[in-house]
Symmetry: C2
Subunit: 345 residues, 2 copies
DNA sequence: TGAGAAAATGTACGCGTGTACATAAAGCGT
DNA sequence: ACGCTTTATGTACACGCGTACATTTTCTCA
């Protein structure tokens, strides 16, 4: 070496240990002249840590995953935090056939910590997660909770978000509020249902199962729901959809029947996605801090990977109602049934 | 070992070399019993390759990156291909202050190949890329070309896409077509301008610089452009926007002046993003196969990383016009100026 | 059945760090 | 100036795999 050592170089490059200021300078200078860069792989190898944060993405057939607003936002948040911590972000795609073996990722040491997106509360998934948990490998779930578990979880307050959304409709005078929900193996969906019921109960309105429709969070499923909702147009004066995409599909479907959201019927969505700002009318929705949730999850899990903290952290971030025009004007007393039915065809 | 060897295990696990079928079985069985997993880091170390494909993301201040439709789609395509090749996907975020040193990524061996998104044709970036190129490190640009370079590039035929879009407007009878473009350091923008000019020339229409407006591909910039376009409403009967986001912002802005796209003025966007399907009226736009572009780029670069192919590959994928309603009905002869002006305020 | 080729397995070492430990240098108090 | 503590540096080895080469086993064919 141009300098005078070997292990000292390591100390200089990794910033560990004590090194005299002058030696440090000499080493760095030599490194520059030799165009030397420490090899990241060898570093990982010696340290026994990859320096990667893995993000496990769900398998969603036929859908280009990142186009889903919430994944994109969460991932951006994770990316931000990962940079702060000096980790790298490894994207791990879950395949449909692949057995649900998360431990594999840690065993092979590809990632020191993981964030799991789009998890569902089904037995096999619970089992796989519990296995991870028992080996105290740092991981965190985002936007999904497993009741009774000790998993790290970052979620938003969807019960309150939904409550506010439905409450908003009630405040505007709507009395017969349908609910377009998603699959119940997402805690998300269960939470929204709970918020919906709570708002109804508080207002002394009956909960009617016929007014709860089931979609799958896709725009298409919202579009398809419009048929059933239109069929019950005499009983329904407002719809709360569990996400924006379904709300948008619903509005499009209803429009084809001549029913205009915000005018003949009130519609509220959920997520405050980009799409909600560009529909006509703009969608009243619930803002969810996905970006912040991603940051929080990454923060938790990276802190644990660095051995800074115990596990079982549960964060619930606040949501907030965003009132736009799809929820219509304030109306007095009972909603106008004639209007809700839309123009005659 | 439960079996009888050591290097043989390596041969079994890595699938290299000849191993008798029975031995293989014994080894795998022992591995299962011992709960053994080969260490990915050590493998990378020994092989001298990380097994990662790096995707370099541009720094976009104040924007949550993944929400941009085209990044998301490209990334999904890359993800697909990466799975096929058995690589991992490493996300690399470019910081604003950071010097444009791509070689660093290869030197440190974090990735065996890279895909660079959102590159711009500015001197420093060209220099950094040329440096990469000279060291024959496999990388590929997506949706951006550098004229006269030997870089791998995957792009879509934006000249033709724009040509078709403008041609469509001309075919519908519009004669005074404004163009809302983005920054010219994106080859994207230059291509669109070229296609725009070509279509005008072919129809014998004059190219007027006053009808070319400059945005930055954000919805906001489209919204802001509406002011200027409205000001020239007497000369303009149609607008071709260089992407959907600007087109959407523009439509929203015009709407506030009472000018409705597809009715008082024709609007065509570009990208065929999710948003284009949910606006009212739905946006006529140009479909770009971003997903396929991502796949193609990953294919090229991974093949090169595996030493299968020479560099300098240039792919141009086809685009296609998607006619919806924002480009209005077919009109005869000169567009109706009164209508284009919108209702009186 | 035996020689030679082909297949299967074992041996030994390197890959480039980090780090425990040993050692040398520097500082400090009397 | 001497012993002691503190700081700085050198030495040696491990980390877990891949692989070139040596060696053994199996197969082929006369």
């Amino acid at each position: 070496m141009a300098g005078v050592s070997e292990a000292t170089v390591s100390r200089v490059m990794s910033g560990s240990g004590l090194v005299k200021e002058e030696t440090k300078r000499r080493v760095l200078q030599a490194a520059k002249r030799l165009n030397y860069y420490p090899n990241a792989i060898a570093r990982s190898f010696a340290r026994g840590r990859s320096g990667n944060l893995g993000v496990i993405l769900p398998f969603v057939p036929k859908v280009h995953l990142f186009s889903t607003y919430y994944f994109s936002e969460i991932l951006s948040g994770i990316g931000k935090k990962v940079q702060e911590y000096g980790y790298n972000l490894l994207l791990l795609f879950r395949s449909p056939e692949e057995t649900m073996d998360f431990t594999h990722i840690y065993r092979t040491q590809k990632a020191d910590a993981c964030i799991i997106l789009g998890a569902r509360d089904v037995p096999e998934e619970r089992r796989a997660l519990r296995e991870l948990s028992e080996q105290s490998l740092p991981f965190c779930l985002v936007n999904q909770r497993f009741s009774g578990s000790e998993f790290n979880e970052v979620d938003a307050d969807h019960v309150h978000g939904s409550y506010e959304a439905v409450r908003h409709l009630i405040d505007r005078g709507y009395r017969s509020i349908a609910f377009l929900n998603g699959p119940l193996h997402y805690s998300n969906s269960a939470d929204r249902l709970q918020g919906y019921k709570k708002a109804l109960a508080e207002a002394g309105l009956p909960y009617a199962e016929e007014l709860v429709f089931m979609g799958n969070y896709s725009r298409k499923s919202g579009y398809e729901a419009s048929r059933f909702i239109y069929a019950r147009r005499n009983e329904i004066d407002a719809v709360f959809a569990a996400n924006d995409r379904m709300a948008i599909g619903l509005m499009q479907g209803l429009r084809e029947y001549g029913v205009r959201a915000g005018e003949h019927i009130a519609v509220v969505g959920y997520d405050d996605s980009d799409g909600s700002k560009i529909t006509d009318p703009p969608l009243t929705t619930v803002h969810v801090p996905f970006y912040e949730m991603g940051m929080a999850a990454a923060g938790i899990v990276l802190a644990q990977a660095d051995g800074e903290q115990a596990s079982g952290v549960k964060h619930v971030l606040p949501t907030s109602l965003v009132v736009r025009e799809s929820s219509g004007p304030r109306i007095n007393g009972r909603a106008d049934r004639t209007a809700a039915a839309g123009p005659e065809r």
